[in-house]
C-alpha cells in the first residue's frame, strides 16, 4: 500500500493536481466571507448602480458569510471531486500502466485504495487550508465562531466530498473513458439533487450535511442529521466496494 500511495501522492504533486485542487479550494474558502463583506461596498463605489439598490441589500452578517463559504466550497469541491479523479482507473487501464502494475504482486484492492486515500488526502489538505483561511476571515470581518462547530462543518464537508471521490473512482472503474466516468458522477449528482425535492427523503440526503454543519457553526438549534451522515457513508462505502468488486473481475 505504501509504495502505491507514495506513487499516487507523487503523481498528484508532479502533475500539479495537488496544487490546483488546494489552490482552488483555498480561494473558494476565502472568497465567501470576503465577497459577503465587501460586495455591498464595491457595488456602492460602482457608477451606474440603480438608485435604492443599496437600501434593499441585506446587511452582511456572519450567517450569510458562512452560507457563502459552504456553498462555494461544496459546489467547487464537488466539481473538483469529479473532474480530478475521473481518469484515475480508466486512464491507467487505457494507457497500459495498470497492466504493468497489476502484473506485480499487488492486490487490486490496494491499487484502488491507494488512489482513494491519495485523493482524500489532497482534498483534506485543501479543505484544511481553506478552513483555516475562511475561519480567520470570518473572525476578523464578522465574529469569531466556535472552533468546534466550524471544525464539524468542515468535517462534514470533507465527508461529502470524499463520497463524490468514491463515486467517481467507481465510475472510472466501470466506464471505458474518463468522460463517461465524469458523466456518471454528474448524473448521480443531479439525481441526488432531484431526490432533494422529495420532502420525506430530503433529511436523509448527503446535501443535508451542509445544513447541519452550518447550524453547528452558527450554534443554531437543529436536529442532528445522523441519517444523512449514515447515507453518505453508505454511498461512499458502497461505491468503493462496488468499484472493487467490478475491478477484481475486470481484465486489464
Amino acid at each position: 500500500m505504501q509504495t502505491l500511495l507514495r506513487k499516487e501522492l507523487r503523481e498528484q504533486w508532479r502533475t500539479y493536481r495537488f496544487l490546483v485542487v488546494v489552490a482552488m479550494l483555498i480561494v473558494s474558502g476565502l472568497i465567501g466571507p470576503l465577497s459577503v463583506k465587501y460586495l455591498p461596498l464595491i457595488l456602492a463605489q460602482m457608477p451606474g448602480v440603480p438608485e435604492g439598490l443599496m437600501e434593499v441589500m441585506p446587511e452582511p452578517d456572519v450567517a450569510m458569510a458562512v452560507d457563502e463559504y459552504v456553498q462555494n466550497l461544496s459546489q467547487l469541491g464537488v466539481i473538483l471531486a469529479i473532474l480530478i479523479p475521473m481518469a484515475a482507473v480508466v486512464g491507467e487501464k487505457n494507457s497500459g500502466t495498470a497492466a504493468l502494475i497489476l502484473s506485480k504482486p499487488v492486490s487490486r484492492a490496494v491499487f484502488l485504495g491507494a488512489k482513494l486515500i491519495a485523493y482524500g488526502l489532497i482534498f483534506f489538505a485543501g479543505i484544511l487550508l481553506a478552513g483555516l483561511g475562511g475561519y480567520y476571515y470570518l473572525g476578523i470581518l464578522f465574529e469569531w465562531l466556535t472552533p468546534v462547530g466550524f471544525l464539524a462543518l468542515n468535517g462534514l464537508l470533507m465527508t461529502y466530498l470524499v463520497m463524490f471521490l468514491a463515486i467517481t473512482l467507481c465510475a472510472s472503474t466501470i466506464s471505458r473513458s474518463q468522460f463517461a466516468a465524469a458523466g456518471i458522477s454528474f448524473g448521480l449528482l443531479i439525481f441526488l439533487s432531484l431526490l432533494g425535492a422529495v420532502p420525506s427523503l430530503s433529511p436523509y440526503l448527503p446535501t443535508t450535511l451542509m445544513a447541519w454543519g452550518r447550524a453547528l457553526t452558527l450554534r443554531l438549534d437543529v436536529e442532528p442529521a445522523w441519517g444523512a451522515l449514515g447515507v453518505t457513508f453508505a454511498i461512499m462505502v458502497s461505491a468503493f466496494l462496488g468499484s472493487l468488486l467490478v475491478f477484481r473481475r475486470q481484465e486489464i
Binding site: T3, S95, G96, T97, A99, L102, K104, P105, I252
Partner: protein
C-alpha cells in the same frame, strides 16, 4: 517440475475463440519461443499467465502455483507487455527503485542497487534521471525489460520483446535474453522468426488458439523443414525451363519454381534426394553459375504449418 504448465486453456471473447484448448508444458531454464500469426492467441496466453486476464476454461500454473489476478504466482514472474507503458512524469531510476522495487517487496537499499544494476544492463544508465515521457519507443522497451527483471523472477514472460528496437537494440536485448538461459525460464512471443531461430531452445507454434507444433527447435526443423536447392545457370531461360521440366517427374522433387535462368527446387526431404539432385544439376550440359543447398529455416516450418 515444469516452469509453466497450461492445461486445456480456452478464452472466448464474444464470438471469437482466442484460445481453444491450449495445452503446453515449458521446462525450467529454457528460452521458449511462442510463435503464431497475428490473432493466434499469443498475447492472450501471456496476459493469462501474467494474471491480467482470466481463462474462460482451463488452468495454468507457474512453478506449480495457479495463475490469476490475485495469485502469488505473480511473485515469480517478470512480465513485459508488447508496448510497455509508464508514468511519463516519473524518472527511470525512480520507477524501478521506488515503484517496481517497492511492489516486489524489496528494501529501499536493495531496490536502489538493483535498479542501478538493471539500468546498466539495458543500457539506460545515462538516462536514469530523465523523465520517461521523453523516452523513445526503444528506450521504453529497454526499461520494460529492466522492470521485468527487477525481482530476479524465475519466469520471464516477454511479449514481442524486440519490437520497436533498432538493430543494435535488438541485438543487445537478444544477447541479454540469451544470457538468461539456465537462470530463468524465458517465455517469449514473437513473429520475428530469425530471432527465435537464434536464441530459442524450444518452440511452440500457435494458430487459431491451438498449439499446432511443440518441440525443440532442431527437432522441428528436422521434422518439418524441407530442403531447397537454388541453382543459377548461365543459359537461356527457355533451355533452363526445358531442363527443369524434365525434373518434375522425379519422385523426390516436390516443387520447381523458375525465375529466368534461376531454378528453385524443393525436395521431399529424404537424405538421398539432396545427393541425387546435386548429381543431376552438375550432370547437365548447362553452365552452372551457383548451386546452393539451403539450410532448413524456421520460417519454412512456420509457413508450412500455418498456411
Amino acid at each position: 517440475m515444469s516452469a509453466i504448465v497450461i492445461e486445456r486453456l480456452c478464452k472466448i471473447y464474444g464470438p471469437i475463440k482466442a484460445l481453444d484448448g491450449l495445452d503446453l508444458h515449458v521446462e525450467q531454464g529454457v528460452v521458449f519461443g511462442f510463435l503464431g500469426p497475428n490473432g493466434a492467441g499469443k498475447t492472450t496466453t501471456l496476459r493469462i499467465l501474467a494474471g491480467l486476464a482470466r481463462p474462460t476454461t482451463g488452468q495454468a500454473w507457474i512453478e506449480g502455483l495457479p495463475v490469476g489476478p490475485e495469485s502469488h504466482a505473480r511473485r515469480l514472474v517478470g512480465y513485459l507487455p508488447e508496448e510497455p507503458s509508464f508514468y511519463p512524469w516519473m524518472r527511470a531510476r525512480e520507477f524501478l527503485a521506488d515503484l517496481v522495487g517497492g511492489l516486489c517487496g524489496m528494501s529501499r537499499r536493495e531496490a536502489m542497487a538493483r535498479a542501478d544494476e538493471m539500468l546498466v544492463l539495458v543500457g539506460l544508465e545515462k538516462d536514469a534521471d530523465r523523465r520517461i515521457g521523453g523516452f523513445s519507443r526503444g528506450m521504453r522497451q529497454r526499461l520494460g525489460l529492466a522492470q521485468a527483471l527487477m525481482n530476479r523472477p524465475p519466469v520471464l514472460l516477454l511479449d514481442e520483446p524486440v519490437s520497436g528496437l533498432d538493430p543494435v537494440g535488438r541485438r543487445d536485448i537478444l544477447n541479454l535474453i540469451d544470457e538468461l538461459r539456465g537462470e530463468a525460464t524465458v517465455f517469449m512471443s514473437t513473429h520475428i522468426l530469425s530471432d527465435v531461430e537464434r536464441i530459442c531452445d524450444a518452440v511452440g507454434i500457435l494458430n487459431h488458439g491451438r498449439l499446432i507444433a511443440l518441440d525443440k527447435k532442431e527437432n522441428l526443423l528436422r521434422r518439418y523443414a524441407v530442403p531447397v536447392v537454388e541453382v543459377n545457370f548461365d543459359a537461356a531461360p527457355e533451355m533452363v525451363a526445358h531442363w527443369a521440366e524434365s525434373l518434375r517427374q522425379l519422385p523426390f522433387v516436390a516443387d520447381i519454381q523458375l525465375d529466368g535462368s534461376a531454378v528453385r527446387i524443393t525436395l521431399d526431404g529424404s537424405a538421398q534426394s539432396s545427393v541425387d539432385i546435386q548429381r543431376l544439376v552438375l550432370g547437365t550440359d548447362l553452365l552452372v553459375l551457383s548451386y546452393q543447398h539451403q539450410r532448413p529455416q524456421l520460417e519454412d516450418v512456420f509457413l508450412q504449418l500455418v498456411e
